[in-house]
Amino acid sequence: MITRIVSNNFEIPDSHTMDVALSNGRYSSLKPVFEKEPQELIDIIKASGLRGKGGGGAAAGNKWQIVSDWEGTKYVVVNADESEPGTFKDRRILSLDPHLLIEGIIATCYAVGSNTSYIYVRGEYEEFSDILQDSIDEAYEKNFLGVGAQYRVDITIHRGAGAYICGEKSALLESLEGNRGHPRLKPHSPKPEFYFNEPTLVNNVETIASVPFILENGAEAYRAYGTEKSPGTMLFGISGNITKPGIYEVEFGVSMLEYIEKVGGGVKNGKKLKAVIPGGASTPILPFEMLKEARLDYENLRDLGSALGTGGMIVMDEDASMVKALKNLLRFYHHESCGQCTPCREGTSWSDKILDRFVAKRATMEDLEMLRSVSKTMNGKTICVFAPAASGVIDGFLKHFESEFLECIV
């Protein structure tokens, strides 16, 4: 079931060192890359159907085209903020195969016409970004980067400092400019992101790490995996009440239950499966009954009323309390709201407090109604999708596990 494209070198010891990386195929995509015109590369990425792996699943090729077409000094920013609960895949790339990421960055920069890239790594990942920094230093020594390179690219690691919202691309760029990490208002027409007013591409670590395979083997080779609309593979993660938690790369479209059984080893301690949060904490929960049809691709999970998100599944067994689980997530949202928008700042705070009364089994019917109405206001007009995501999480729990909430009402 496991397919190795991005994770191919994860188990090779010392893959983060240049010698081992080179003898296992790293940087080999650059030769065919530099033989092509940048536009040809963008067309290959478009044809491959590569979709962003940071949660949204946007078509990478279109984003590259917009940045390439925009006048100005271009930047390529790699999003390694990885703070979505249940998500721990990018860290594998940073520490187990950093040269794959560097290779992908060089190709991406060449394709969109940029000479400067930043990797924004969450502050907590210091151990892993130190490994990445050593690899970047080696890449400079070997003239894959810097003035001596065939195509000049400079990569700088920028260290975050603990703020979930900085994973949102515009908040990330604010942070990279030296500001508080506040998301920006979104434009109405297709535009790139902007770093100090210059056109900027923001892609997730895994998205960029998927680029070398595609550019070396062609769009069709990537499309050989996955489904028509969700082509390729993803580093799916599994955690919670599971026997073998971890990151396992599979192609899009595989059955979720099969993934849980075959690669995850099934629910821990022989317990029964109760529910799964499919793609990181901001995707709505799915109860066991719905999982029989669940497939790991964007379309299927959307049709089931949830989302693929970051592909980080959180498994809950028969003993898990849904009231407690929602409390846990709302505490997270309350803690991480950046506070710019009133519906989000107030809504996350209220809903967190209301849940305390459910956990204490002292809630009232008004509390339940209030929770529903707070959720509705959060789904209104906010600057970023953080608040609507929180709202979707609440609605998912109430829709599928209402009886557990009713049991907490006096």
Binding site: S83, G86, Y125, G160, L176, E177, R180, P245, K324, R331
Partner: protein
């Protein structure tokens, strides 16, 4: 007490200046270097950064207070961060937190934090910033003794 960067850090800063289109982008790196140097970010350090970047003190302060990893007071003890988010809670992080509170709160400041990106190693904590995963009480004793 006035603040200045060590010579080693000053060299780092000089090289970082070439890496960004505007000096202002150095705020986070400068705050990190100050914190590494002193274990926290003092008012003097923020004042120094404000002068260095030629930006209002209030801007530096407002950025420093936005990010949870920046410490504006000197830590009295070594720091343990325990993840409390869902995958860790489902795997017993509450008991880990209690065990730490009961046995190690004299020598360590024990802080609860949100998901650290180590969910497959739940429950987990960091000690002085270093990750420890798949925690058991025995393992905690082993690491902290």
């Amino acid at each position: 007490m006035s603040f200045s960067y060590t010579q080693e850090n000053s060299i780092k800063i000089a090289s970082l200046l070439n890496r960004y289109p505007q000096k202002k982008a150095l705020i986070l790196p400068l705050l990190w270097l100050a914190q590494k140097q002193d274990s926290y970010i003092s008012e003097d350090a923020m004042g120094h950064i404000s002068e260095f970047l030629n930006m209002p003190y209030m801007h530096i302060y407002s950025v420093a207070t936005f990010y949870t990893m920046f410490r504006l007071t000197k830590p009295q003890k070594r720091i343990i961060e325990v993840c409390r988010t869902l995958s860790c809670e489902l795997n017993g992080s509450e008991d880990i937190k209690k065990y730490l509170d009961n046995n190690y709160s004299k020598e360590f400041e024990i802080i609860e934090v949100e998901c650290m990106g180590a969910c497959s190693g739940a429950p987990m904590c960091t000690v002085d910033g270093k990750y420890h995963e798949n925690l058991t009480t025995e393992m905690i004793d082993e690491v902290l003794k």
